[in-house]
């Protein structure tokens, strides 16, 4: 995060909008409430995904093991909101399933916290 941050307007914002071409211009898809750490995994094999449009096939390939929405976005190099739209399409088709992180209002789960603590200690 250095000089790139100064390039706030990038190349006249063209590349910023173009990713939405892969979503058919759709910019929002909140139906599943996907967030950055929602985990997704594909129910489809890589072979089965071969017939899908390339971005979808790429996601299916990545999601052979559970990944967060943010990781999918980072790996296919598309902005988060675009990836959420694509993932929503795949979820709708039941090609991908997802699991949201625990709701905010919930008190932090003792077992989860203890596991995180132990996990960090073991690093």
């Amino acid at each position: 995060m250095t000089e790139q941050d100064e390039a706030w307007f990038d190349e006249a914002a063209g590349p910023l909008v173009r990713p939405y071409a892969v979503t058919g211009g759709r910019t929002r898809s909140d139906q599943f409430g996907l967030d950055m750490i929602t985990l997704v995994v594909s129910l489809m094999s890589v072979t089965e995904a071969a017939g899908l449009p390339p971005e979808y096939a790429k996601i299916v390939r990545l999601c052979q093991r559970p990944l967060s929405v943010a990781e999918v976005a980072a790996h296919i190099d598309l902005p988060l909101p675009v990836v959420k739209v694509l993932l929503s399409d795949l979820i709708e088709q039941n090609y991908v399933i997802f699991r949201r992180a625990a709701p905010v209002s919930e008190t932090p789960n003792k077992h989860v916290l203890q596991a995180v603590l132990d996990g960090i200690r073991k690093l």
Binding site: D5, A74, P79, V104, G119
Partner: protein, 198 residues
């Protein structure tokens, strides 16, 4: 429908949790993420459409309504069913729009402070205090020169005595681990899950 194997619980039992690493621009957030992440820090882009009016002066250029902010994050697989993500928060004020989404569902946060420009972490401290998200302050000592003690930093930041504060080196894995351990213990204490903190 691809196959009969569509029971989500059979294929996706893992839970994801996240911690935030906040602080001013250039304070070492991504370095800290990288020091413990099992993968080199990943970068993703969030986009904002139209909510940034008034922030930028484009001087005659027709206002763009879409802007992006890069987020760096790392991953620690705690066990097959639990994945911890560490997200660096955007360092600049103009990216405040991201903070709510980042903070949603976060267990807690590290505010990384640079004693050469302490004021750059004020917004993070304010944000977490207002939001009631447990946080610890890590005073990043870049060159090993401990210019100030933690109590001086505490006074300067005006954070309560209950907020853990420790010196650290964001480049150092053991040091980062210590900061994260302190944070998780603080979160547990806050939730009354640790007997000692009552």
């Amino acid at each position: 429908m691809v196959s009969g194997n569509s029971d989500p619980r059979r294929r996706l039992t893992a839970t994801a949790v996240k911690l935030l690493i906040a602080g001013g621009f250039g304070v070492g957030k991504t370095t800290m993420v990288g020091s413990v992440s099992e993968v080199p820090p990943l970068r993703t882009e969030e986009m904002l459409t139209s909510a940034s009016e008034g922030v930028d002066d484009l001087n005659g250029v027709e206002a763009k309504t879409t802007t992006t902010v890069a987020l760096d994050f790392g991953r620690i697989t705690i066990n097959p069913d639990l994945i911890l993500y560490l997200f660096g928060t955007p360092g600049q004020d103009r990216f405040w729009f991201m903070w709510d989404e980042l903070a949603t569902g976060a267990l807690g946060a590290v505010v990384l402070a640079d004693t050469r420009r302490l004021e750059s972490c004020f917004p993070a401290v304010d944000f977490f205090e207002r939001r009631g998200l447990p946080f610890v302050v890590g005073v990043n000592c870049f060159d090993g020169a401990y210019r100030y003690g933690t109590e001086e930093v505490r006074a300067a930041l005006d954070v309560s005595a209950s907020v853990p504060m420790l010196l650290c080196d964001a480049r150092d894995r053991e040091s980062t681990k210590q900061v994260l351990i302190t944070l998780v213990q603080h979160v547990m204490r806050n939730a009354n899950l640790l007997p000692t903190g009552r």
